[in-house]
Symmetry: C2
Subunit: 230 residues, 2 copies
């Protein structure tokens, strides 16, 4: 028998631990958690209205992804970003995310391209807006980047990149709250334009170059603030 039932898909079951994990991920990527901040399982559980158990699970996962660290004192905290760590992260991101956009340039569909253009436009509008709203801009920037990464059609790679963003998230904040991010957003806009254009033209090398410039200029801006130890 064929019916409307055939269009059903297996429902994804989401546990409380998943919800807490997602919530903490958002906080990290949005830079709402500062490097060095300490987390208490009981406090997080209380503020989220759940038992300690789901929080334990979420934190365990984040520690596994190195988005959180547990000190020898067994205290969990947001990892402090050092200069060498940021440089390492920048190098790795350039290589891996550069590879992703190169693949995206080869395999993108027109539909995916349209979505990139839409997000690019929204981002450009957001940063040029009179009301800065850095949080919104940051989210649009993230959505645009991952729209490109997902176009590579390598879900494992997208997952790896997500892990990298979790690690750099907290310092994005540092730069953002110093709020002279505006200086660099001209760079970001230009890089995004070059990136989308290269992907449209199926030119992997140019796409990679554009993205590398984006990552590098952002990293160098943070380094130039001199707030990082080491």
């Amino acid at each position: 028998m064929k019916s409307a039932l055939d269009t059903m898909e297996p429902i994804e079951r989401v546990t409380l631990g998943d919800r807490v994990h997602e919530e903490l991920c958002d906080l990290l990527m949005a830079g709402k958690l500062f490097p060095g901040d300490k987390l208490s399982l009981r406090n997080v559980a209380a503020t989220m209205g759940v038992s300690m158990m789901p929080v334990r699970e979420a934190v365990t996962r984040l520690v596994a992804e190195e988005a959180l660290t547990v000190a020898p004192n067994r205290a969990v905290s947001v990892p402090v970003m050092t200069l060498t760590r940021l440089r390492e992260l920048t190098l790795i991101r350039s290589e891996i995310e550069g590879f992703a956009v190169a693949q995206a340039a080869l395999h993108r569909t027109d539909k995916e391209l349209m979505r990139m253009r839409s997000l690019d436009e929204q981002f450009r509008a957001a940063v040029k807006s009179d009301s800065p709203n850095a949080e919104k801009s940051l989210k649009l920037n993230k959505d645009l980047h991952f729209a490109v990464y997902n176009a590579a059609r390598l879900p494992l790679l997208s997952g790896i990149i997500q892990g990298l963003w979790l690690k750099v998230g907290p310092v994005i904040n540092l730069d953002l709250r110093s709020s002279s991010e505006r200086l660099r957003s001209g760079d970001a806009e230009q890089c995004h334009a070059r990136l989308v254009a290269a992907i449209e033209a199926h030119e992997p090398d140019k796409a990679r170059a554009a993205l590398t410039d984006d990552i590098l200029s952002s990293s160098q801006f943070i380094q130039s603030t001199g707030i990082l130890p080491d």
Copy 2:
């Protein structure tokens, strides 16, 4: 005051969850767990002589690393490897591990080079031995690879690669149990030799090429067995 105390490092505290995690990692990388195998938290806990709690933590971490999957039925199992998944993994591994060996070729120390040569020699001896002992060969192969990766001095990258090996581990077994791996070990030996030579000569491109060949020939051997679905 300066004394011998200055040479002390913070002792790493290892929890039961860590121990179980490590144990399961070994099982996965050694290919002792087959794709599709189901794990029961209570059973694992019983066989390891601990409570269910540390096992939960270890499994949670492994699921986060996608080394294990939890079905919508909430049943945890070793992910089944499909053809497209293996191809994706191969592509990503070539890029990321290739980058790692290129960096290693640039930054390796003489000490690290010596260790690579030692492991390479041991590996060659192990595969040519009259008593095959595939398990030992596999471990030496792993140690050699990671000796190179670690020489890149990018610990985050080593961690990412470790995650990739956790995902491919279970199929290594498939090929190993079919045990005609022997056919390919000639390839492996040659690739290793080229790899180590390139790293010794500080030639990143050649190192990357050698490693890519190693990964590719291994992957194609597994694909040629035709045991993978999809």
